[in-house]
């Protein structure tokens, strides 16, 4: 008596194989059965398969929905033979020869789900190693190893190289290529490989991409000269490639790429079994590729975020946090970048009785603006000193910033010098909004702008005029960048110069820190959650007079 193989196919879930060598086995949905199947239309103990004489019988155990052999309902016991199909509820049980599992013919692609993970040794040790069987074993091994290698941590590049490794080992192509789909939908060659004897350019045919990746179909072209799908694709034929295998790399969310291997037909002509292996390997890879790619992207983003956070800290550290403790003076400032790093700047230097200050705004946002801002600060610190005039400081900064400025970055700046003994303020503007002034009596106005010069960095011989005004004790000077006046609300209205002037007048009597805070609050309340478009800087300076 020879054993039988019962291939059990429930309405949902995994196909499973059950080997029967002798005795009997009861199949049903109850836990008392020898083989339990998750099928509600089955009875708890539905039917028994038993060895009898030289053959096997199936016996219906009084199942409510009956047992059918090849469509005929079984009354009592019924002889069965390999090839029969037994229907139990919604479950099909196919009867096979036990040894059949060792034959290559049993490994059609539809059966791979059940065959995939069977230990290779089970096949390779008992087998008469005919050529075909050896090839099948090698392919199963390729799949098995691929799965095992992918189970551990692996980078995207390593994963793709591994896939090519396995393909070259199992299918011996001359060339192989894996394309991945970019976020914009285009296909990018991720890895490729060719044997040393392959000639010509490595080939990625647009036609093949359309057929495989766009239409989601696997392609087997055993002889391209005979295949009308490629009748116009002269690049493929011209490259001397005659046999092509290609498969989409597809997961539940769609096509992530494709893999193709090529051979000249007189060397190797691919067949259907080869295609099945390629499809299996590509499907196995697909499950990991998207996850690995997403993980690598996330890791790169984390590095970038970390770098930006560092840059933010460095930039903020450039801004003075402590203001001069002088009886003549009270200062406060706030700078709120719209992104991690920004192009706004405030700074000051105290030399004897002279306070130099700058508020500046580099064009644009982000890293380029931040670098330009850092250079501007360095130039200000290098050039503002007691012998210099305001006009010479701003002119020299301009010359330096305009040098080799092919990208036309520019920075608007207001540079001033306040003589703490007299309240004499000298200032110059390079394309920057004029400061506002609140007198001790509560009157506010824009400081009469000197003839505004051009923003720094554009015209290397630009001339800057100085403006002069004398601060009275109690006067408050307010410097800002246009991120304040151009903050917008949900209706698209600007905060505006007029609104800033009004709010400044209302809060001018507050201590400098309180004044800055209240103006920042005003801008935030106005914007009411509309994302900040530009960096916001406010610097307030109260002159107390000489003590």
């Amino acid at each position: 008596m020879s054993g039988i193989l019962l291939r059990i196919q429930p309405p949902a879930g995994q196909i499973s194989d059950h080997k029967c060598r002798e005795g009997a086995v009861v199949i049903g949905r109850g836990t008392g059965a020898d083989v339990v199947v998750g099928d509600h239309s089955m009875s708890r103990q539905h039917a028994r398969f038993a060895a009898e004489g030289k053959g096997w019988v199936v016996e219906d155990l009084g199942a409510r929905n009956g047992t059918f052999v090849n469509g005929v309902r079984v009354e009592g016991r019924h002889l069965i033979a390999p090839g029969d199909v037994v229907k139990m509820g919604a479950t099909l049980v196919r009867v096979g020869v036990l040894e059949a599992e060792l034959q290559p013919a049993a490994l059609g692609v539809s059966d791979l789900g059940a065959s995939l993970f069977r230990p290779i040794t089970e096949i390779t040790t008992d087998l008469d190693l005919s050529g075909a069987a050896t090839r099948v074993a090698a392919r199963l091994q390729a799949l098995n190893e691929f799965h095992r290698a992918m189970a551990g941590p692996i980078s995207l590049d390593a994963l793709l190289e591994l896939l090519l490794d396995r393909l070259f080992a199992a299918l011996q192509p001359e060339e192989g290529v894996i394309l991945l789909r970019e976020p914009d939908g285009s296909m990018r060659t991720a890895v490729s490989r060719r044997l040393p004897n392959a000639t010509g350019d490595l080939l990625v045919s647009r036609r093949l991409i359309t057929e495989v990746a766009d239409k989601g179909t696997a392609a087997l072209v055993s002889d391209i000269a005979m295949d009308e799908r490629f009748s116009g694709a002269e690049s493929i034929i011209g490259a001397g490639i005659r046999s092509i295998l290609a498969a989409p790399i597809t997961d539940a969310a769609g096509c992530v790429g494709m893999v193709a291997i090529y051979s000249r037909a007189h060397v190797r002509r691919f067949g259907e079994e080869d295609l099945e292996l390629l499809v299996s390997l590509a499907s196995a890879a697909a499950l990991r590729i998207r996850n690995v790619a997403l993980a690598e992207e996330a890791a790169a983003r984390r590095v970038q975020d970390h770098e930006l956070a560092l840059a933010h800290d460095i930039q903020m550290a450039m801004l003075p946090r402590r203001f001069p403790e002088r009886p003549e003076l009270e200062m406060a400032a706030a700078l709120i970048p719209a992104r991690a790093v920004g192009g706004d700047l405030y700074d000051f230097l105290l030399e004897d009785h002279n306070l130099w200050f700058i508020v500046a705004d580099a064009a644009g946002k982000g890293v380029s603006a931040a670098l330009f801002m850092a250079v501007t600060r360095t130039l200000f610190r290098a050039m503002a000193h007691s012998q210099a005039t305001v006009a010479s400081v701003i002119s020299r900064m301009n010359v330096e910033l305009a040098r080799d400025n092919d990208q036309q970055f520019f920075v608007t700046a207001l540079v001033g010098r306040l003589d703490l003994r007299s309240g004499a303020l000298t200032y110059a503007s390079a394309g920057h909004p004029p400061p506002l002034l609140a007198s001790g009596s509560g009157m506010t106005s824009a400081v009469e702008a000197a003839e505004g010069g051009v923003a720094l960095g554009i015209v290397d011989d630009a001339v800057y005029d100085e403006g002069r005004v004398t601060l009275e004790p109690g006067d408050v000077l307010l410097l800002f960048t246009d991120g304040v006046t151009e903050a917008i609300n949900g209706d698209g209205e600007l905060f505006s110069d007029a609104r800033l002037l009004a709010r400044f007048g209302r809060s001018a009597a507050l201590p400098a820190a309180g004044l800055v805070e209240s103006l920042v609050d005003d801008v935030n309340a106005f914007a009411a959650g509309v994302p900040q478009e530009d960096d916001i800087t406010i610097l307030a300076l109260r002159y107390r007079g000489r003590h």
């Binding site: 705004d361 580099a362 064009a363 644009g364 946002k365 982000g366 990208q407 036309q408 970055f409 520019f410 608007t412 390079a430 394309g431 920057h432 909004p433 505004g452 010069g453 051009v454 923003a455 554009i458 015209v459 630009a462 246009d482 151009e486 478009e533 530009d534």
Partner: protein
């Protein structure tokens, strides 16, 4: 942001509309570069449809003016709404450009100065 383009007797007229700020200035810069790469040497930029321009937007037109100078081409800006004109003026950039009040005036200017 939308950029319209037309040709008037060999003069390329570019009319952006909407906001030209950090978000959109890249697209405007690219469009202008393509037009200049395509061989245009007489350009009019019509600002009639522009609601707002930021410093990043200004930079795009500085780059354009510099490039046209290098290529010995000509560019005229025109029809600037007051808020746009303010931004150019405040940054001190008005003297760097040829500016006309209307598209017709800009085309006339390029036609007469040949």
């Amino acid at each position: 942001m939308n950029i319209q383009r037309s040709n008037h007797d060999g003069v390329e007229v570019i009319a952006p509309s909407g906001r030209i700020d950090t978000t959109t200035s890249g697209a405007v810069e690219q469009a202008l570069r393509q037009i200049v790469d395509g061989g245009a040497r007489d350009l009019v930029v019509d600002f009639a449809g522009v609601d707002y321009i930021s410093s990043a937007g200004l930079r795009v037109f500085l780059l354009l003016a510099k490039r046209m100078r290098d290529l010995q081409g000509r560019v005229v800006l025109c029809a600037m709404p007051e808020p746009v004109r303010q931004v150019f003026r405040l940054a001190g950039f008005m003297p760097l450009f040829v500016v006309e009040p209307s598209r017709d005036a800009a085309l006339t200017r390029l036609a007469t100065q040949t």
